[in-house]
């Protein structure tokens, strides 16, 4: 009995240590890898990276200015598509809809959310590229916007629902109509959460590459207007990393660092906003 107990305790200690090892291996591998990115990217980045167009093949130097601007334009369109649909759809779900409609909308949003980004890209390709026979900023932004919808919608709905009902009842007792209650009481009460939701959705699509390859395509030059193919940071990183040129590899590292920095900063800011709490405490 005593020996058996000792054995069981031994097994317990070994296995628990192993779980610790798993945690250490996973976390340290992930952090080491990203640390390497920071070191390589940091060594490769310079002012030209932000201000210059890509240099012709074989020449050293140049930058990704057009890709950075392109990404900005794509994300602007994505936000213009994704945020209104997600936000207003969430208001319908949380404040107006019946059970059945809410179920259908939520189900569709979850379906969209689970679809691999490349499939969203195919959809955008058949809807926004093939009919016009033209790769464009608009098509790329459309693809990214589609991906923003479900993330914005689902988390905004959750935050709207977490606003206590007493606030709704209080506003209505004072004679406010429903939409006035929503616009002046409920949304302001949940605005931190909603802002977080939008920021996280933005960060999620900012690094998306797959849906852009055959919608926004890529471009070595500035892309004027909205109906031309445009470079974007993720696609340029992808192309540069697979190219045979040493100097492009260097720029891929720099681009990776810029993209990662942008996304991590947005994530941390979003979490910071949320950590300060929904501005009305739950009763």
């Amino acid at each position: 009995m005593n020996r058996r107990l000792r054995w069981r305790k031994f097994v317990s200690n070994v296995m628990l240590t192993l779980t610790g090892v798993c945690a250490a291996v996973s976390v340290s591998a992930l952090i080491l890898i990203l640390g390497y990115l920071v070191v390589r990217g940091g060594a490769s980045i310079n002012w030209n990276f932000f201000t210059k167009l890509p240099a012709p093949v074989g020449e050293i130097g140049g930058g990704m200015a057009n890709a950075i601007v392109g990404s900005g334009k794509l994300l602007l369109i994505a936000t213009l598509i994704g945020v209104p649909i997600g936000f207003l759809g969430a208001i319908y779900l949380a404040e107006f809809s019946g059970h059945r409609m809410a179920f259908i909308v939520r189900y569709s949003a979850d379906l969209l959310n689970g679809v691999p980004s490349i499939v969203i890209g195919i959809f955008a390709y058949s809807v926004a590229v093939l009919p016009f026979k033209q790769f464009s900023t608009l098509a790329g932004g459309f693809a990214l916007g589609l991906m923003m919808i479900p993330i914005t919608l689902r988390s905004t709905e959750e935050f709207l629902r977490s606003v206590p009902n007493t606030l709704r009842e209080g506003a209505m007792a004072l004679g406010a109509s429903k939409w006035k209650t929503i616009a002046t009481v409920i949304v302001p009460a949940a605005y931190r959460g909603i802002l977080t939701a939008i920021l996280l959705a933005f960060a999620r699509v900012a690094g998306e590459t797959a849906p852009l390859i055959f919608t926004a395509l890529g471009n070595s030059f500035w892309s004027p207007g909205w109906t031309q193919p445009t470079a974007s940071l993720p696609v340029t990183i992808y192309n540069y990393a697979l190219s045979p040129y040493e100097d492009w590899h260097r720029q891929a590292w720099a681009g990776g660092l810029v993209l990662l920095g942008l996304i991590l900063i947005i994530n941390i800011v979003a979490r910071g906003i949320l950590a300060r709490g929904i501005s009305v405490s739950r009763s």
């Binding site: 969209l112 499939v119 390859i213």
Partner: protein, 329 residues
Amino acid sequence: MATASTSLPSAGPASDSRALLSRLRDGDEIARLITFIFAATVVLISILLVLELWHDSALPRHKFGFAFFRTTTWNPIEGEFGALPFIYGTVVTAAVALLIAIPLGIGAAIFLAELAPTRISDTLEFFIDLLAAVPSVIYGVLGVFIVVPLMRQFIAPWLKRILGFLPLFQGPAYGVGFLTAGIVLAIMVIPYIISVSREVLLSVPSDQREAALAVGSTRWESTWKVVVPFARSGILGSIFLALARSLGETMAVAMVIGNDPKISASLFAPGYSIAAVIANELAEATSELHTQSLIALGLVLFLLTFILNGLARILIVVTSQRGAGTARA
């Protein structure tokens, strides 16, 4: 009777329009309608997505039928399209990824949920959540510049020496291939497994742990025989999520799998995946049949991930409800 019926039509519209006017003045119906339109847009988009995939993959469905999934030749110039090498590559890389990620991820989740002090657990969870936000193209870059050379110089020779008698670990190692793609995918999905599994493990009511410890279990026995089985379906859900993610992952795989539509027993050999071939060829597809064959591959991917995500969601919801139910009881 007659007067009533004649007076009604005249009173009806007037009171109706007055009621309508008052509702409009409040604006509730308009707000309802506007938000409804946006909510309905979401439904419309997902229906359109499915219809579009189905409609735009009609050519290969009619031309090849189920042979599309059985044949191995992919030759856009001759107009021959067989999906098997891509399905094989997708499944093999996802399997390798899960073989690596499941033990590591679940072990780490157990550590974080059951053993680590709350502060350490929460701090690490914060980092892990950030890692889950890292875009896949960055994992691809890291794969190309770190994992591929490591594979060529160290991992592959080492595996050959130890496990070289298995056909899985034979043949030349170029650095790119199924195993490399699997490793990069594993690195990508580990944060998901840890994050979701930790969550469901933490939702197991502490009565369960205490009861097991009270009847004399060791710490490990209470964890492995009581807590983990309690959270089993939620953990399974996290694995399904990771699987769906590995199957649909494009960039990280496209950059390290080698992009060669071949089926090889060796994990060192280069291959191809569904998502990777779509990414590489759709923009440059010239014939209608080529485009539609790629979209048909997209449809396959969509159906696979749709089913897996559905199962995952059911499993996670079931577990958290079970936890909540027992806690209340």
